[in-house]
């Protein structure tokens, strides 16, 4: 039985569809990711799956329970790490976890041992009696991850788990997440707009403007792009595009003043293009396809550009008007 089953899920905020007919299954024990820009519908989907929002239409089951009719069973079966912190900063780390253990029905005899276990894994045991206000951003995140696991959930939702943290802290947190995920054999559902973070997933759903545009393993997604990406700088890109089309039958795209093209074997292609192209080549860059390239190929825009997208802005504003649809 899949851990998460989603079928034709839709959610409209007023006339704007935030989630526009999304379907997917997540296997038990799988690490599954939603990759997409801000406003793509990732958080809205998580909020529906964790019973905080009602879908406009469609169905979703988490750990075998319907998110609309069996909400308490769903809540008992999931752990959550929200995009924005949700700790009581005036309580100590230990008190935050105790609170959680109580509301999630952890048996009294196991409360202390489970709290100690998770606190040791995220290396906060020594700071357990400090008020959370004094924790760094990374420590707060680790505490939230520990908290999300005390009640032994079947599914852990991570909404942008390392947003706003520096790369070193990000790595550190991922070590902990994966360690806990393996130890408890839980299903992990995460959203991210960091490409490197998406690499931790077994499968990724690329989501854009409320729709899933591709769903596969990171490697398979990258294979969709082609073997290698070459980026060129020339004094006359227009002329270069025409020449590349005529000479090699390849479609080069102009992006940020550079030309971008996909070729099967970049290392062999570079000397040829430098030698043969009618326009002088000022600089060349070769890289293996990343999920950034996948996103660009699938949607026609780069993932970071989305911030300025009017529809994404409208969605974000819609959330603000409603006082935070993230809740």
């Amino acid at each position: 039985m899949p851990s998460i089953e989603v079928s034709d899920l839709r959610k409209n905020f007023g006339p704007v569809p935030a989630v526009d007919g999304v379907s997917f299954d997540v296997e038990e024990g799988e690490v599954f990711g939603f990759l997409g820009p801000n406003g793509a519908g990732k958080t809205t989907t998580i909020n529906i799956l964790c019973t905080l929002l009602r879908p406009t239409s469609g169905t979703a089951k988490v750990a075998g329970y319907d998110v609309q009719t069996q909400r308490n069973a769903v809540r008992q079966s999931i752990g959550l790490v929200f995009q924005d912190p949700s700790l009581d900063v005036q309580l100590t780390g230990l008190e935050n976890l105790r609170f959680h253990a109580h509301v999630y029905n952890v048996p009294g005899s196991e409360r202390n041992s489970r709290i100690e276990e998770v606190l040791r894994v995220v290396e906060l045991w020594d700071r357990r009696n400090a008020v959370v206000k004094t924790y760094s951003g990374g420590m707060k995140r680790r505490l939230e991850i520990a908290r999300g696991l005390i009640h032994h959930p079947r599914v852990l939702f991570l909404d942008e788990p390392t947003i706003g943290l520096d790369p070193q802290t990000r790595d550190h947190i991922w070590t902990h997440i994966l360690q806990l995920q393996r130890a408890h054999e839980i299903t992990l559902f995460m959203t991210t707009h960091y490409m490197e973070e998406a690499e931790h997933c077994r499968r990724i759903a690329v989501i854009d403007q409320g729709k899933i545009v591709a769903l596969d393993t990171p490697d398979a997604l990258k294979r969709m792009v082609g073997a290698d990406i070459i980026s060129l700088r020339t004094p006359d890109n227009e002329k270069a595009i025409v020449d590349i089309r005529q000479r090699y039958g390849l479609e080069a795209q102009s992006q940020d003043g550079r030309l971008r093209l996909e070729v099967p074997n970049g290392a062999e292609f570079i000397p040829r293009v430098v030698h043969e192209l009618a326009v002088p080549v000022e600089s060349v860059d070769l890289h293996r396809p990343t999920l950034d390239d996948v996103f660009l190929k699938l949607t026609g825009h780069a993932i970071r550009d989305q911030e300025a997208d009017p529809l994404a802005t409208a969605r974000a504003m819609g959330r603000m008007w409603r006082g935070g649809g993230r809740r």
Partner: protein, 282 residues
Amino acid sequence: MATYAPTVNGQPERYAGLEANLRGIYIIWYRDVLRSSRDRARIIASLGQPLLFLIVFGAGLSASLGAGLTQQLGNVSYVRFLYPGIISMAVLFTSIFSAMSIVWDREFGFLRELLVAPVSRAAVVLGKALGGSTIAMFQGAILIILAPVIGIGLNPLLIVELLALMFLVAFAIASVGILIASRLQTMESFQMIINFLVMPMFFLSGAFFPLRQLPRWMAVVTRLDPVAYGVDPLRRLLLGSTLAPGIQIGGYHLGTLDDIGILAVFAVVMLLLAMRSFETTE
């Protein structure tokens, strides 16, 4: 945000078990009490204002209106008359502030931790109301210590009665606070609530002046003020029934039990509305 009834497709919503909800109520209550006990500054601040009112108004009005005022009150000094009102003030403000901590929790994100927990919204509301009432009762209890200074003798039974009454008043007020907080998105609106709801509730409660021989419109408004049904029995307990003959409705003077009944019904109605409001907003 979606509005929905507690039933889905005609199927009743599955609620968490009673035991889980009781544990939820307990820990939500415990958190509020723990937080407030740690917040020494707030405890002192919320004692300061009532004491300021007691001293300034007590001394000021006694001095300027002097004997006439005392005579009007049946040979009781104005400070003594004011004292139960000041206790009500501490209870009123503390319970409103505690209930409003829901808005803080919303701003700081903690509310989501509560709202995705497998406990019912009813448990969240009840835990909050009980937490606020407990804190407010303690705040009032600190002021009770002043009674002998004002010349009011205390005995164990009286103290128990006072605590119980303060708890009930606080519970009723906290319920209103939670109902409002369920609809407030930001703390900025909080000052509005204080100015246009809490202050009038305080001024019209009979804390400052007897609710007798008032202009007709004002008499009507005071009867609608829940705090009035707390000030009156509190004054009766502390100063006797000559100073607190009971709020008059029709030709009937309400007794302490009537006040308690009114407060209890009011609290239950407000709590039910607050629970409903939480079900539909989040």
